[in-house]
């Protein structure tokens, strides 16, 4: 007492495929419904993926990079003494890790910055200008002067410069706690001003040369962060093991998710909000497929009764209906993916100008978003909605199909077609 023999399955597929064309309009309506839903969801997801890439690039590009190596206590307690010795060696080792595009060491201290009679607290960051410019956009936000042209140069935020009442060429004095517990101090000349559009950065950050910072704050070769830029921000998690192998024992590797938790949170919230819309859309389409299959089962009740009467098992009939559902899904998926590719592929290379859109111009300025967004196609985008739609279609087909299991053969044979 076996179920349908293997040879019969090819027959079921043939019968199922032909059955679809008994109601051409209904089949096309169902396939187009699935296709349209997949198109909307994949385009939406590729737009989101492109937006997230832009968010990540702009957020990590200013200061944080894709990952950082720090002293284990520095992230929670950023004191000058929590530093990594032999910063040069560490920088060189990390620069040699495959997939790493740029590496920049930084020494930092929260210090009092004074110019003539005014003083303000600020984050003083010692950087290697060449290495830092390779992974940070800060130098490109130059508002006046030059980006750290000399060893004793300072690159100051415009708001901080205004607060201090300084201009290009003026001298500033930086005072803070040194690594060994004494007073750290350095004198720099303001050679450049930057304006990022982010008030917090513009009024509380200044950069100086790394060597001057290390000398002034008794750091020797020590640094507080080694900032890393990789080929792909999203690929950092996969590189964790190789990066950690290049780190000193006791060092701590933080990726951008940990460095900028608010960014990851914003992405998750946006993703969840969009997912609700996608789910609603997919459910509505699945309901229409349920309706189509209920109609199918009711219309073909006598035919199913005949198939049961001549010895076909209910499961074989359900298998046939499932194949019909799979065919409709495959047609819908082909339509949806083709439309998605037709729309997204050109946009992913030329981008979409968002600066002219009302409300987006402010976002472009304040969040340093690029003026053009590039929708991103990836496996997740192309697989997720067809995958959920497949599940929905199968469930939609199986719900009415299981009516066949309870179908009394004699009554089914009496049904009018």
């Amino acid at each position: 007492m076996n179920s349908a023999p293997p040879r019969a399955k090819a027959l079921f597929a043939r019968v199922a495929w032909r059955n679809l064309w008994r109601r051409r309009l209904r089949t096309w309506m169902s396939a187009c419904g699935i296709g349209f839903a997949i198109f909307l969801v994949t385009v939406g997801m590729s737009w989101q993926a492109g937006t997230y890439d832009a968010w990540i690039d702009s957020a990590t590009g200013l200061m944080s990079g894709h990952a950082q190596v720090q002293h284990p206590a520095y992230f929670d307690n950023p004191e000058v003494r929590h530093n990594l010795a032999e910063g040069s060696d560490l920088t060189n080792r990390l620069a040699g890790v495959p997939g790493v595009v740029a590496v920049a060491p930084r020494a930092e201290a929260f210090a009092l910055v004074s110019a003539e009679e005014r003083s303000f607290g600020a984050m003083v960051i010692g950087v290697d200008p060449v290495r830092d410019a390779a992974l940070s956009d800060l130098s490109s936000h130059l508002a006046a002067g030059e980006y750290l042209p000399r060893l004793d140069s300072a690159f100051v935020g415009t708001a901080l410069a205004t607060n201090l009442g300084i201009e290009l060429g003026d001298e500033i004095v930086v005072l803070g706690a040194a690594a060994e517990g004494g007073v750290g101090a350095l004198v720099s000349r303001v050679d450049g001003l930057f304006e990022t559009g982010q008030p917090e950065v513009d009024r509380s950050v200044l950069q100086v040369g790394l060597a001057a910072m290390q000398a002034g704050f008794e750091l020797g070769d020590a640094v507080h962060r080694v900032v890393i830029k990789t080929r792909d921000a999203r690929g950092v998690t996969g590189m964790r093991a190789t990066l950690e192998a290049a780190m000193p024992a006791g060092g701590r590797l933080l990726d951008w998710n940990e460095l900028l938790p608010e960014l990851e949170q914003a992405i998750q919230i946006d993703r969840a909000t969009a997912a609700m819309t996608y789910w609603l859309l997919l459910i509505v389409v699945a309901m229409s497929v349920v309706n189509a299959f209920i109609m199918t089962v009711f219309e073909r009740t006598r035919e199913f009764g005949m198939l049961l009467a001549i010895g076909m098992r209910p499961n074989s009939i359900i298998a046939m209906l499932t194949i019909e559902a799979l065919c409709v899904w495959a047609m819908g998926t082909a339509i949806g993916i083709a439309l998605c590719l037709a729309v997204v592929m050109p946009l992913s290379s030329v981008g979409f100008d968002i600066s002219g859109i009302e409300g987006m111009d402010a976002m472009v300025g304040q969040l340093m978003m690029p003026e053009r967004l590039y929708p991103a196609l990836n496996v997740e985008v192309l697989v997720e909605s067809p995958g959920w739609m497949l599940l929905g279609t199968l469930l939609a087909a199986l719900i009415p199909a299981f009516r066949v299991r309870r179908m009394p053969v004699v009554e089914a044979l009496r049904e009018e077609e």
């Binding site: 007492m1 040879r7 019969a8 019968v15 008994r22 005949m306 009467a309 001549i310 076909m312 053969v409």
Partner: protein
């Protein structure tokens, strides 16, 4: 005996009053017989046919087909019994509309797992024996009622069943087509020894059968 029914009853529990479709029916069908179950509408002839064919279960009694007690079989076992031992011909032809005549006949052999070459050969022979070999590529919608019923008979006999059940096979056919159909069934019965049980109230059908069993109000009279 191909069929042996003992004290078979079938009661439908309707919402209002129970309907006794069969009441204590005793019936036997020997190998090579062609028996017609006759009687007016509601007499129980179709119900008895369905019970013998394993399409419906009796409320009481015993039904043995080719030595197998049908009433104790599971749903899956009943499917296999119908597939391998019983051929059905229905009043409304009941062919698969998306398959050609040949494919309709092949379908049942494919359910049995018969290989392609044998399936094709047996199906063509079955259609030939029905005199419709030239229609093998036509779908049911492209054939007359009589032609469709011949395809249905070809499908029913291609598995070489021990029993052919025909429920009002002439109901939708005109007189000349009915006669042609009955001659086909007669030749199957006489020349190939196919055992046939027909439910009918058509006197022309009864005239062709070797024996007639009359039913009235669910009982053999």
């Amino acid at each position: 005996m191909v069929v042996e029914c003992r004290n078979v009853s079938r009661t439908y529990d309707d919402d209002t009053v129970p309907v006794h479709a069969l009441q204590g029916v005793d019936f036997q069908l020997g190998a090579g017989e062609w028996v017609s179950l006759a009687g007016p509408s509601g007499s129980g002839k179709s119900t008895l046919l369905h019970v013998i064919g394993g399409l419906d279960q009796p409320t009481d009694g015993s039904v043995v087909v080719d030595g197998v007690e049908v009433t104790t079989l599971t749903a899956a076992e009943l499917s296999d019994l119908r597939l391998n031992k019983i051929g059905f011909v229905f009043q409304a032809y009941n062919l698969i509309p998306v398959l050609s005549a040949l494919e309709n006949v092949e379908f049942i052999l494919q359910l049995q797992g018969v290989d392609r070459a044998e399936r094709r050969s047996r199906s063509q022979q079955a259609l030939q024996s029905m005199g419709i070999a030239d229609l093998e590529n036509r779908r049911p919608g492209e054939m007359s009622g009589g032609q469709q019923q011949r395809v249905a008979i070809a499908r029913a006999i291609v598995t070489e069943p021990v029993l052919l059940l025909a429920d009002e096979p002439s109901a939708n056919l005109d007189t000349s087509t009915t006669r042609e159909l009955l001659e086909v069934l007669q030749s199957l019965n006489r020349e190939r020894g196919v055992t046939i049980l027909t439910a009918t109230h058509d006197p022309m059908v009864m005239g062709y059968t070797t024996r007639q069993v009359n039913l009235r109000d669910g009982s053999v009279v």
